[in-house]
Symmetry: C2
Subunit: 242 residues, 2 copies
């Protein structure tokens, strides 16, 4: 499982707080374990389209994505749902680290997912001892808040086209920042379905289809077979209003 020669178990480990802090057992194996590895944890995996956790399951544990795409969403009375955020490899699902959520949210595996689960009480304890770890968790929390700021403005004040364009551009940005995709790539793996895009932008999947097929006709981008082709990134940025 671990690769001691390269020093990284997975591509995203470089960007994972648990790995950087040497809390993760993928790094501090066997004999090192008693140093910082004292944080209880386990590796798990789950198939695409399965629910990983309900809100209440997260009282005791803190998960980190090792591989695959994850969403956190809220069910709405009447069958609808809204995706609050996407989690990419190396990211902590730490919303409930300090307090419970007001909404009953679900963490779901979009693709097949590998993840690591840490014991919440131990993580908290460690965090308050180690300033570095605290800073890191805070940074992740603030980063998420900034994404929320942007999402709120988009939902409240921008058209469907703008919202879809921005969602895609931001995800591509995050993938490239984590070196999950080459930074010059114009073709990349993109596992979201139309209903994911709709649920993340406050649109219907039907309308997402219409927006995307317009983009395709204008040779801006093409999305199909879990693959995104950025045919004209400049035009996409223009649509996004950037």
């Amino acid at each position: 499982m671990e690769d001691r020669t390269s020093g990284l178990a997975r591509p995203a480990c470089r960007y994972c707080p648990a790995y950087q802090l040497a809390i993760c057992h993928a790094r501090t194996v066997a004999s090192d374990a008693r140093v910082r590895g004292g944080v209880e944890q386990s590796v798990r995996s789950i198939a695409a389209r399965r629910t990983m956790f309900r809100e209440r399951d997260l009282h005791d544990i803190v998960p980190i994505v090792c591989n695959g795409w994850v969403s956190r969403d809220v069910g709405v009375s009447g069958g609808g749902r809204m995706i609050l955020s996407f989690y990419l490899p190396g990211q902590l699902i730490g919303d409930t680290l300090f307090a419970e959520s007001a909404v009953d949210s679900f963490v779901e595996a979009i693709t097949d997912v590998e993840y690591r689960v840490f014991k919440r009480s131990t993580v908290r304890e460690f965090m308050f001892i180690c300033d570095e770890s605290l800073e890191m968790v805070l940074r992740g929390l603030i980063e998420e808040m900034r994404r929320y700021d942007q999402l709120i403005v988009d939902l409240g004040r921008h058209s469907a086209e703008v919202r879809v364009a921005r969602l895609i551009l931001r995800l591509v940005e995050r993938l490239k920042a984590r070196e999950l995709e080459k930074s010059d790539a114009h073709r990349l793996r993109f596992p979201l379905r139309h209903h994911h895009i709709g649920d993340a932008t406050g649109l219907t999947s039907v309308h997402v289809t219409k927006v995307l097929s317009k983009f395709r006709h204008e040779h801006v981008l093409a999305l199909g077979s879990r693959t995104l082709s950025l045919l004209d990134p400049a035009a996409l940025n223009r649509i996004a209003g950037w």
Copy 2:
């Protein structure tokens, strides 16, 4: 200015982190000042409808509302704007305490406002020394994130009526929790204009008028002269879907 006999300078002080932690000079006057009062600060006030800060002004300072209503909003290309949150008395405007925001937001005085400004570097320093203060700031941050969760779901998946009803109910809830209004009051001071409500719910002020006048016709609530009358709270909750 201070009232040493009651122990509180203002009604909201009881709920203000700076006051609770005895950082605020409204509490640690004169001789006490060297204990925890070492945090540089100053009291200020500003007239309604004025901009208190731009994003970049908050690099050095951390404001806390003592009195009045405050909003943080983002300007949108094309003249629109979106309100991200409202700040009530006793609340820290601490979004930028750890990192800069990605959007250029404005903090604006809705009513006449009194507030206190702390030096950011000193606050941060103190926060990392004192676990209690850290917990308190984190709690505020998480509370704000929970509000964001709810707002995102509302914007993405609920109608205008629901959004307006929820905004009002949540604000009333917060006012009562802080004892800024009596918990059994059905008439309370509510300084938001239609355009504030629109900018906070992603609607036009014109449409807010229509929604509110429908509520009035149905004897659910009446809003006018800076005063909110909750004529039928149960019905309002029903509209909100609660």
